[in-house]
């Protein structure tokens, strides 16, 4: 059994395009849930706003790529306002109910047959990512090497001896943009959560009545957090759509939102780097288990009578679910959360 291959694959994925989608979505959620205490169960819909905003603008309305980005961001802001205005004055759980329902409505609208000429219905859309990849500075021809990096026919290999990383030049372009966005967004969020503005958000998470009694317009702060987190969710949607070069409504199910939550809790909520570490670990483990099982079946370590290749997918999710339960029991604060903070009596 090829352990080196399994680990290389898992590590390659752990900092790759899909991990970036989870990281970005969870960063947005961290602002809403981790810092402000808003239960947004519709982060998938914010990502859908970004993905579909971009795809519809470019494919169906034939407008330039950058217009698509603007439309996606504006759509996320509008969605946050629509969800927030009726619910943010109410108790916290109302936002949870409304967002989970709204996310399903969004998905149903995207796959509705009435508009399938425009939206592609359940098949979704493709053909919007070319302008993005036209900007790709990573060459798809020629070869060269530098230290342990080597480039060949648009494939970058980083050979570290024990493990190696491999990316296509399209992946590299997604990762360049994605990691740059992660860094920029984290810098902005770091400034925000350590400012008096961020202090008010944390106060709202602890007890919004107390913060109100101190003269703060709690509704406005919650709205700002919801909008800002939604915008970051839309950015995750852009990366998601571009990395797959298509959009499909059924990728934006409630599961998608819950992966963001898993990533956030795994990494540590209300910690700046929590979502990034959580996404890397989550996607590493997912790939490690999936690739490991597949390899084990292929090399007859696990006989087909116990497990065959088609059962690997569900088993991976079963194992990840089990891992999540164990995490919550033994390390509820996640990778870098503060256990003491979590154990405090919060009435």
């Amino acid at each position: 059994m090829d352990w080196q291959f399994v680990f290389s694959q898992a590590l390659t994925q752990a900092i790759g395009p899909t991990m970036l989608v989870y990281a970005l979505g969870a960063i947005g959620l961290n602002l809403q849930f981790g810092y402000t205490g808003l239960l947004n169960f519709g982060q998938a819909a914010f990502a859908a706003m970004g993905a579909y905003g971009l795809a519809l603008t470019v494919v169906s309305f034939d407008l330039p790529f950058w217009w698509g980005i603007v439309v996606g961001l504006v759509a996320a802001v509008i969605m946050a306002l629509l969800l927030g205005i009726p619910t943010l004055r109410l108790r916290a759980d109302y936002l949870a109910i409304v967002t989970i329902a709204a996310a399903e409505i969004v998905r149903r609208l995207m796959r509705a047959t009435v508009w399938s000429d425009t939206t592609g219905g359940s098949d979704g859309m493709r053909g919007f990512s070319e302008p993005f990849f036209d900007m790709n500075p990573w060459p798809d021809e020629g070869s060269g090497s530098f230290l342990f990096f080597s480039m060949e026919h648009g494939r970058l290999t980083a050979d570290l001896g024990i493990v190696n990383f491999q990316y296509s030049n399209r992946d590299l372009w997604i990762m360049t943009v994605g990691w740059a966005l992660v860094v920029i967004i984290l810098v902005i969020m770091g400034l925000l959560v350590h400012s008096p503005w961020g202090r008010v958000l944390k106060g709202i998470r602890e007890d919004e009545e107390a913060v109100r009694s101190l003269g703060k317009n709690v509704f406005a702060y919650k709205m700002q957090a919801l909008v800002l987190g939604g915008i970051i969710g839309a950015v995750a949607g852009f990366i998601f759509a571009l990395s797959r070069a298509n959009v499909q409504p059924d990728t934006f199910t409630t599961d998608f939102t819950f992966y963001f939550y898993v990533v956030l809790i795994l990494g540590g909520a209300a910690r700046l780097l929590g979502p990034v570490l959580g996404a890397a670990l989550f996607w590493f483990l997912y790939n490690l288990i999936a690739q490991g099982l597949n390899q084990a079946i292929r090399s007859d370590v696990i006989p087909p009578s116990i497990l065959d290749a088609t059962q690997v997918g569900p088993l991976v999710f079963f194992l990840l679910g089990l891992g999540m339960v164990l995490l919550l029991i033994f390390r509820p604060q996640g990778l870098i959360g503060n256990r003491k903070e979590l154990m405090l009596d919060v009435r």
């Binding site: 400012s195 008096p196 998470r205 602890e206 109100r212 009694s213 903070e341 405090l344 009596d345």
Partner: protein
């Protein structure tokens, strides 16, 4: 810091100002900071509060007393914007306040505390204090991104917070989490935090609930000092001894209505108050 002499002067001043006020419900005061008329709150068919008129003298300590379920806390919530009245109008410090939201009431200078103390658990004691400061530039989202805009103000607020923590004997706890404080310390923190806003009037909802006798005395001193610093205090309380010790004026509620007002001495002697607390005709029943 005020010493005994200052406190006595404060009492004298507040009581002298109200010397001519007649002890009757809705009595008008010479210099009211708060004046509320026709405040009514009904929950369906139940009228929780129906107070004809109440004025609170500026610079005084006024107690709002009454048996359980008299509507004191509801009345409190209405005045501070935490609940909406079915009808009624009031003015605070010369401004119409009955349409204000809770945060606007606080900004106007009327700051409340809660019966169940609300310390912000997963924030440091220092952050609990700093969040109280008013008009912070850095609390606007865009300004928050640019520390030079708010660093100086933050430093000034920190100074002020340290002074208050010193005064409330919480200085050693400044780096602890709010959730690590004992019940009594949380009460002190909540009061200190309210003072970060430089309020004109402090509304204390049962400040002595669940507080041990030693701390009770400390809290009493702090409340008296608020008056000495020029603030007006309105507090809800059950404990008649405490009311007697610090209140300049007492308003009594029962079954949603204001049944009487007066000095603590007048109230202790009032038949209606005893009836309200113990039930009317209690001695008739004994006979």
């Amino acid at each position: 810091m005020s010493d005994d002499n200052d406190q006595r002067t404060g009492i004298t001043a507040a009581r002298a100002a109200m010397a001519g006020v007649t002890a009757e419900p809705g009595a008008s005061k010479p210099d009211p900071i708060l004046s509320a008329t026709g405040v009514r709150r009904a929950f369906g068919g139940l009228v929780a509060v129906d107070v004809e008129h109440l004025e609170v003298q500026r610079g005084s300590i006024t107690a709002l007393i009454g048996p359980n379920g008299a509507g004191k806390t509801t009345y409190f919530n209405l005045l501070t914007g935490f609940d909406r009245p079915s009808k009624g109008t009031w003015e605070f410090n010369g401004r119409k306040a009955h349409r204000m939201r809770s945060y606007q009431v606080a900004r106007a200078g009327m700051v409340r505390t809660f019966q169940l103390t609300k310390a912000l658990s997963r924030m440091s004691v220092m952050d609990n204090m700093l969040i109280g400061a008013a008009n912070q530039v850095g609390e606007r989202m865009w300004a928050g991104l640019i520390p030079p805009l708010w660093k100086a103000q933050e430093a000034a607020n920190r100074e002020k917070a340290l002074e208050l923590l010193e005064r409330f004997k919480l200085i050693d706890k400044r780096d602890h989490y709010g959730g690590e404080l004992s019940g009594g310390q949380r009460k002190l923190l909540e009061m200190a935090r309210a003072l970060m806003l430089d309020p004109k009037m402090v509304m204390l909802d049962e400040p002595m609930a669940g507080v041990n006798p030693a701390l009770k005395q400390t809290l009493l001193e702090h409340i008296k000092n608020l008056r000495e610093d020029g603030m007006t205090v309105l507090f809800v309380e059950h404990d008649m001894d405490m009311v007697h010790e610090i209140a300049d004026w007492v308003a009594v509620m029962a079954a949603g209505k204001l049944i009487t007002e007066g000095t603590p001495d007048q109230i202790s002697a009032d038949r209606r108050v005893i009836d309200a607390y113990l039930g009317a005709h209690h001695d008739a029943a004994q006979r």
